[in-house]
Amino acid sequence: MLTIKGLEVRYGAITAVRGVDLEIRKGEIVALLGANGAGKSTIARSIAGLLPFQGEIAFEGERLTPGTAEKNLRRGIALVPEGRGILARMTVHENLLMGIYTRSDKSAAMADVDKMLERFPILGKRRDGLASLLSGGEQQMLAIGRALLSKPKLLLLDEPSLGLAPLMTASLFSMIAQFRDEGLTVLLVEQKARQTLKIVDRAYLLETGRVVTSGSAEALINDPTLSEAFLGGTH
């Protein structure tokens, strides 16, 4: 579904991503792991069309032009950015309505918004309140719900668990695991490697802009590179 070859991204003099190859097949949940500053967000944002890049990103066989975020969403790539990207000055309902901005089946889309408010009852209760008044976990639900409303084929989640309490993180991860049953393909960017590997099919480990290890979740959870570099020792 998504094929990345020789991806290179620079911010001025800094090269944040150096020659990354990555593959996501339809229906998979793939993790992109790495410490702070490894280049995870840069990759996610390049796929979403927010950054200029070199190399090749192809989605469903078509090469993506750098920096065409609006088009990429219409192709079926939705990003939930790091920090959630909630529109704080809008209500919960208005945020969800922004999720159907590109949909042409308006009446079905409006019905989907209502279903989303039922799927996340907390959001339903706060429907007409400002999104900025939600808790961190609720905002994450809103951001994911909003992204789902565009009916994406590929969902990019950039550190959704950031700043969430452990219980909230656990329920978030079990929700993401269920996306597989809905036929969604997911790229999950995370630092919490151990928890992430429990729900994903495959993972890539990133270090200073390069992929250092990749493979199936079962293989990686026992991989010494990953344990030392990242999980902080094995158990």
Partner: protein, 292 residues
């Protein structure tokens, strides 16, 4: 004759409100002051004036002023803003300053620098409401302002396009990942803002019954003050600040003389910048356009 002054101030204030909204539509989204709006207002006035004296009815004159101003707004966006959108904020602002001086020059060349007068038979009717005299055009200005503010409020608050405008204003990048083309919405903001300025120009020109190429500078700058005083984030800011400033101005002239007329308006603006930069009703600081 205090009540009469209040009505006159209210009419003037209504036009300030329209023009302040026109400024804040662009300001709120791009963080830049489109100074040429003042001249779009003036040219809208001339277009309306010309159409009325050529015998067209008022709605045609209003439409003409609106479309003319919107067309120029499109040109300003394409030539004066689009190529400079990644430059520091002051750059596109200077380019709109260039546009406004050129537009003023064009108007002087077409219509001359002497005031154009509307013959008395147009909109000369007066209605007496108890002690107050209200002119026909005054009534039209007030009603049109209420209608236009309601229309703009509806567009911004309730339509997908308005939500997209607000999304771009709050966070351009988030708007983009939701599929909003920031470039298209920027153009839309210019068109909406230009249309509003054009209509306001027709209304005030017909209300005064006279117009000069300097109308834009005179009233446009005050509308900027009204925008600052009301704040840019909410439409209600301009709705409150416009009449407030209009009435304050008329009362100052009536009781203090015309030599102090602008002290109050601009003094109040400076006071707001010092004490409450987010405007009376809150919202974003209007002196700090964020490049979102």
């Amino acid at each position: 004759m205090l009540i009469q002054q209040l009505v006159n101030g209210l009419t003037l204030g209504a036009v300030y409100t329209l023009l302040a909204l026109s400024f804040s539509l662009v300001m709120g989204i791009l963080g830049i002051l489109n100074l040429a709006i003042a001249e779009l207002f003036m040219i809208g006035g001339y277009l309306g004036f010309t159409l009325i004296t050529a015998g067209f009815p008022l709605p045609v004159a209003v439409l003409g002023g609106m479309l003319g101003a919107a067309a120029i707004a499109i040109a300003i966006e394409k030539i004066g803003y689009q190529p400079l959108r990644d430059a520091p904020l002051v750059t596109p602002m200077l380019s709109t300053l260039g546009f406004s001086i050129i537009l003023q020059n064009v108007a002087t060349n077409i219509w001359g620098s002497d005031p154009a007068q509307l013959p008395d038979e147009y909109f000369g009717k007066q209605y007496a409401l108890g002690p107050i005299n209200i002119g026909e055009m005054q009534l039209i200005v007030l009603v049109a302002t209420v209608v236009l503010v309601a229309v703009v409020a509806y567009i911004v608050q309730k339509t997908p396009m308005g939500r997209a405008l607000r999304a771009v204003a709050e966070n351009r990048e988030v708007a983009r990942i939701l599929g909003v083309s920031a470039d298209r919405l920027t153009m839309l903001a210019f068109i909406l803002s230009g249309s509003l300025a054009g209509v306001a120009g027709v209304l005030i020109a017909l209300h005064y019954g006279t117009i000069t190429p300097y109308l834009g500078v005179e009233i446009g700058l005050k509308a900027i003050a009204v925008m600052v005083i009301g704040g840019t984030r909410q439409i209600w800011g301009a709705l409150v600040a416009g009449p407030l400033i209009g009435i304050a101005e008329v009362l100052t002239v009536a009781y203090g003389g015309s030599q102090v007329r602008d002290f109050v308006v601009y003094g109040f603006m400076i006071l707001i910048l010092l004490l409450r930069p987010q405007g009376l009703l809150g919202g974003a600081r209007s002196d700090q356009g964020q490049r979102v």
